[in-house]
């Protein structure tokens, strides 16, 4: 079975997209997809849902979403990981086509969705490649770019002002450096209607996947759906690179697609750029883009870790129990630069153990008074950790209500030592929390 492959098909068995492009012939794919659609059909007749099929070391994971079927096959990835990849593939497809694709297929089952997807197939391919090499999809969190708090406040103020001068046309505003997020403008989130970190992740991927075309143009006007926000319709995004050399990019999202709206957002974009230039913020953003992973790398080095990723579900300073607004925070992550991709499989295995409840909630980190997590987590009893060793490395995972931390240490150190190093990572992150993470601007 070898390398992981992902396919999207219609219920009629027509291939819509695959992670291997057209390298695999239709006849080779048809045996796999035929098996899946047949087994899924049989299960559905029994009122059951099939999730995966194991064969030797290989695994095939299936998911039906409306009129579409997604299939992942691989020999080195676990079911949960493949299932998550399928979910992302589906959401990336919704981003390009909206849920109206189901309506089209329901009325014409033989419709060529591959043709409909057209060039936006690159959005799915880019996301699939991202998931293989980077932690953000694994964590379901957008990577935040490090920026000094005062500069971040200036950028947030500029975005808030942009909303005002746009005459309420601007719905979302996102400043990106590469695929890391500098700041976000959003409507005041509610439990029912809010920008999710997955949508932000998908948006960053969408821009990344079209980078060459976007950089070549002065600005672009893209239809896109934010599936978790509303999968039924398109927004239109004005995209302009403020500095292509360091991948500084501005995405201004409006609810309508009129060229007049584009013209307004173009003027808004110019006003934003001028404001950032006048006050030296643009230079700070360029520095942030150049800095990229370095700050996180320094933390890893200081704590003698090979690598770490940290995902913040909500501000560390927030009172965790049940403050409703904290629940609406966007998940963001901070990552040291990964050398190779061996971390992901181990982190994923640890994440599964944590979710399956085989963690140790009262382990050294939570109980040792010298390394107590209490001041960092404010919920020590809820913190859980697991670790595993492999090839003279220790992989470590710790979750609490407001964060997840995964780290790799190049030694078989005792648990207490790991606890100290992990605590060190956490304390360094907390020390610079306002620089490492952004608070979305809500209006």
């Amino acid at each position: 079975m070898g390398q992981r492959k992902i396919f999207a098909l219609t219920l009629a068995g027509k291939r819509v997209w695959s992670s291997v492009g057209d390298e695999v012939s239709e006849s080779e794919v048809s045996s796999l997809t035929g098996l899946c659609t047949a087994v899924m059909g049989v299960c559905e007749q029994q009122g059951e849902t099939i999730r995966s099929v194991s064969c030797g070391s290989g695994r095939i994971v299936c998911a039906r979403r409306g009129e579409l079927v997604f299939v992942a096959a691989g020999s080195s990835d676990c079911e949960a990981y493949l299932a998550r990849e399928l979910e992302y593939a589906y959401e990336a497809m919704l981003m390009a086509l909206t849920s109206r694709v189901h309506k089209v297929l329901a009325s014409s089952p033989g419709y060529d969705v591959k043709e409909l997807l057209g060039s936006t197939g690159t959005v799915l391919s880019s996301l699939e490649a991202w998931g293989r090499t980077r932690p953000e999809p694994f964590l379901g969190a957008a990577r935040a770019a490090r920026l000094e708090a005062s500069r971040r406040a200036q950028l947030a103020h500029v975005l808030a002002s942009a909303r005002k001068i746009s005459g309420d046309l601007l719905v979302f505003g996102v400043a990106l450096c590469g695929d890391a997020v500098l700041s976000v403008l959003q409507p005041t989130p509610t439990i029912e209607r809010r920008l999710r970190s997955t949508d932000l992740l998908l948006l960053a991927n969408y821009v990344r996947s079209q980078r060459a075309a976007l950089v070549a143009a002065e600005s672009s006007w893209l239809p896109l759906c934010l599936p978790r926000f509303d999968e039924r319709g398109y927004f239109h995004a004005f995209v302009a690179y403020l500095d292509p050399a360091v991948d500084l990019c501005l995405v201004l999202v409006a609810a309508d697609d009129k060229p007049e709206t584009f013209a307004t957002l173009r003027n808004v974009s110019k006003a934003i750029e001028n404001a950032l230039l006048r006050d030296g913020v643009l230079d700070a953003l360029r520095d942030a883009a150049v800095e990229d992973y370095r700050a996180a790398d320094r933390i890893a080095e200081t704590a003698k870790a090979d690598h770490f990723i940290f995902s913040r579900r909500r501000p560390l300073a927030a009172q965790p129990p049940k403050e409703p607004r904290a629940e609406l925070a966007l998940a963001q992550c901070l990552s040291a630069r990964a050398v190779g991709t061996h971390h992901w499989a181990h982190y994923h295995a640890l994440a599964l153990r944590l979710r399956c409840g085989s963690a140790q909630p009262q382990h050294a980190l939570a109980t040792d008074p010298n390394t107590s997590a209490h001041d960092l987590f404010e919920a020590p009893l809820a913190a859980s950790l697991v670790y595993a060793t492999s090839n003279a490395r220790t992989y470590f995972a710790l979750t609490a209500p407001n964060f997840e931390l995964y780290a790799t240490f190049a030694s078989l150190a005792p648990a207490s030592d790991l606890a100290k190093r992990t605590h060190h990572i956490l304390s360094l992150i907390k020390l610079e929390e306002p620089a490492f993470f952004f608070d979305p601007v809500s209006y």
Binding site: E115, L116, G118, S119, T120, T122, A153, Q154, L155, H157, V158, S161, A162, I165, Q210, A212, A213, L214, A216, A217, E218, S219, S220, W221, L222, P223, H236, D257, K258, P259, F262, R266, N267, V268, K270, A271, I272, N274, A275, L276, R278, D279, V281
Partner: protein, 199 residues
């Protein structure tokens, strides 16, 4: 009056089948670059360039639209406000020339009455693969009252001439002022963290 305020705007829209080279033409004109592999346009791209025609500065505002069928419904938004429509086909593809005729028909029925048309047969560097004769395309262009050019974005053949000639034919409108200003200085009240009540 400053030199800048004298610049007039000319809105140009590029229409045609997917893969005919609309984006390559726009990029060749604006940046004088050519990429052999160009990603297919999603939605629409916007570019601008100032040209001098008969001593007058004209700002070409170019809408490069996606050629894929699924974006067809968006096209009217771009050509309605345009002064010039450049209909592009790939001279190595007879199918793309037929698609161009569909665009011309649509513009005639739904486009602005005063819109100025050009027909551009792109990829003229691929002469050995030609499927659309120059004479046939020229005659068709004459029939619809369009200017005709055979271009090559790759070899930079006739690209600048195409845009400049079309822009020169337009009675240009004055460029609107941008008009927005934002200050990045954060007001003091926003800098002060909100105090939370202890109870």
């Amino acid at each position: 009056m400053t030199e800048k305020s004298k610049v007039k705007e000319v809105k140009v829209v590029l229409l045609g089948d997917t893969g005919v080279g609309k984006s390559s033409l726009a990029q060749r004109f604006v940046t004088n670059n050519f990429k052999p592999y160009c990603e297919t346009t999603i939605g629409a791209s916007f570019m601008s360039k100032i040209v001098v025609v008969d001593g007058k500065h004209l700002k070409c505002q170019i809408w490069d639209t996606a050629g894929q069928e699924k974006y067809h419904s968006l096209a009217p938004m771009y050509y309605r406000g345009a002064a010039v429509a450049i209909l592009v086909y790939d001279m190595t593809s007879a199918k793309s020339f037929e698609k161009l005729k569909e665009w011309a028909r649509e513009l005639r029925t739904q486009g602005p009455t005063e819109i100025i048309l050009a027909v551009a047969g792109n990829k003229s560097d691929l002469e050995d693969r030609r499927e659309v004769d120059t004479g046939v395309a020229q005659t068709y262009a004459d029939d619809i009252g369009a200017a005709f050019f055979e271009t090559s974005a790759k070899d930079d053949r006739n690209v600048s001439d195409l845009f400049t000639a079309m822009a020169g034919r337009v009675p240009a409108a004055a460029s609107p002022a941008d008009g927005f200003r934002i200050d990045a200085h954060v007001p003091r009240r926003e800098q002060t963290p909100k105090r939370k009540s202890c109870c």
